[in-house]
Amino acid sequence: MSDRAGSMQKLTYRDAVRDALRDALRKDDRVFLMGEDVGRYGGCFAVSKGLLDEFGPERVRDTPLSESGFVGAGIGAALGGMRPVVEVMTVNFSLLALDQIVNNAATYLHMSGGLFNVPIVIRMATGGGRQLAAQHSRSLEGWYAHIPGIRVLSPATVEDARGMLWTALEDPDPVLIFENAGLYNMEGLIPEDAGPVDIDYARVRRSGRDVTVISYSASLIKSLEAAEILSKEGIEAEVIDLRTLRPLDEKTFLQSVARTHRALIVDEGWRSGSISAEISARIMEGAFYELDGPVERLCSAEVPMPYAKHLEDAALPQVDKIVDMVRKMVGTNG
């Protein structure tokens, strides 16, 4: 690590996504960015700021507020030989494009018996925690992970924000990338020459013997924070970053559960019918005899996100809740 310190760079998650976009636009003429306010505005979250100047309005293409239209156009462009990166401002608006994502992108390869793959990348911001109330605070990535035919990514680290995009663009199938808006300002240290990363496997972000905390995206950051607190109490949590919600890399978390015998899933989505439910079920199926206690979950409260801060804070998984839950899981057993 120390000998590489000189070649490390500190940058934000936002910068990392922008670098990834710039990199992709430079590397491949077929790549273009399309979405609401990606050009002149610079991106709702300033992710694409500056790209219009560098690549022009054809390749950094502002769209009307026509989510179904421009997502479908992205699918068509992908079918037509391009490598579109379609930015849907937030997951909330992606609901207007569900027909295109679910009925078209996810099914074309199959309906055509393997003839037409759709190499599109659809990025969107996700998550709550910014007092944006019910219609702008959804975490529906787990919902998308229900759909066969698409790949669902949730970069939680600067490294993944930088590296997942290119790999996604090289993938022949539709890839959805969910960027938690709360992470854009997060800083991280990555190598100057940080490049593509895999989009297939979960990662153990922190090793521990006492409990496996399975999470992704912003909840992963909270889980890691909780793990540090717990560590001071002698409880060592193993924290797993799912990274890819579909297809799920269950091997990584099943192996971890086999080591720790306890599992907690932290997910900003609602618990009913959620990715956390899916992971819990996979643990039952694949590691039942390793379990030394029930699989636990920390999810968002089942309410549309309230505006008031104290209510929103209470609705979301938080570090102290993770700490308490792990204490309960490990403590009562200790």
């Binding site: 009307p64 239209g69 027909d99 018996g113 393997g114 190499p119 035919g149």
Partner: protein, 335 residues
């Protein structure tokens, strides 16, 4: 308003071979559809089955305007389009049989015929869903400097969908080479246009997006062909999208069977008098282009094609169950 801005060019003098070709194409479609109905009743074909009887002039006329490089995005009533585009009747029927030699390996069925070599992009069964895809295909062509046309078929029901409006807007905004062909058969399933649209004159909707729009008699193959050629030429020339409304009628039920409570038998009979095949054949006869025995020969030839297609479909094989989860994600990971 750009509606009919270009005005109709008078169709060139009809050449006998071309005339017989158009007639043959329509009869091939009709024969295929008749056989489909029969096979459906015999339970060889299942699922939804939407037949094109009565609307043949639209597919035949429009496809005359396309080159092999152009792309087609069609609807779930697309057997005729696929057939005329060059997908063999055997592969189409095998698909409807659910056999792996079908054009979509039996994964799609009647509503999802695909053919990559013929740039036939389905077989889209969500009303309106194909329009944005056509926009995207055209966008790709434009960005890659291909002078190709993407021809997008949809029904009158689709104009009520947001995707229709979004697509008109995007295509017009970005001047994309899309030929939008509305097959207006007067009913969205069972709901007549007048019960669902505040403005039933569809060209006005396209015109609202500054898209060149024209309505044509969809029962007249020559009129459709002429209009489509005009429109396609404009699109190919980079003038942006065109909208062509073909006023037509389906003779059969929406899907295989429906009680047809929404329309009078007399209305159907009235439209049948305008059958695109019969009227065109009569015209050719009148003009001396259809000789004695020509029609019969065409019918025979079509019947043979279809019966061979049935034999082919019958002989085709079922995809092994082990393959069930194939074609969900690509088998090669690099695009």
């Amino acid at each position: 308003m750009k509606t009919k801005s270009r005005g109709k060019k008078k169709p060139a003098a009809l050449d006998r071979d071309h005339a017989l070709h158009l007639l043959r194409s329509m009869i091939r479609i009709r024969s295929l559809e008749d056989k489909c109905a029969e096979l459906y009743s015999a339970m060889k074909i299942r699922g939804f089955l939407h037949l094109y009887d009565g609307e043949e002039a639209v597919a035949v006329g429009v496809l005359e305007a396309l080159t092999p490089e152009d792309a087609i995005v069609a609807t779930y009533r697309e057997h005729g389009h696929a057939l005329i585009r060059g997908v063999s009747a055997g592969c189409i029927l095998a698909e409807m049989y659910g056999k792996q030699e079908g054009c979509s390996r039996g994964r799609g069925g009647s509503m999802h015929l695909f053919d990559d070599r013929r740039r036939f992009y389905g077989g889209n069964a969500i009303v309106g869903g194909g329009l944005p895809i056509a926009v995207g295909l055209a966008l790709a062509d434009k960005m890659q400097n291909h002078s190709r046309v993407t021809c997008c078929f949809f029904g009158d029901g689709a104009v009520a969908e947001g995707e229709f409006h979004e697509s008109m807007n995007l295509a017009s905004l970005w001047k994309l080479p899309v030929l939008f062909v509305c097959e207006n058969n007067l009913y969205a399933m069972g709901t007549a246009l007048r019960y669902s649209e505040s403005v039933t004159e569809l060209t006005r909707k396209a015109a609202g997006y500054d898209v060149t729009a024209e309505a044509v008699d969809g029962m007249d193959v020559l009129a459709v062909e002429a209009a489509a050629k005009n429109a396609a030429a404009a699109v190919r020339a980079g003038e942006g999208p065109c909208f062509l409304e073909c006023r037509t009628y389906r003779f059969r039920a929406h899907s295989m069977f429906d009680p047809e409570l929404y329309r009078a038998k007399a209305e159907v009979e009235e439209w049948k008098k305008r059958c695109p095949i019969e009227t065109f054949a009569q015209k050719l006869k009148n003009e001396g282009l259809l000789a004695e025995g020509d029609r019969e020969a065409i019918e025979r030839e079509a019947a043979r094609e279809i019966s061979e297609a049935v034999a082919f479909a019958e002989a085709c094989t079922w995809e092994p169950l082990e393959d069930l989860t194939r074609f969900v994600m690509s088998e090669r990971r690099t695009a």
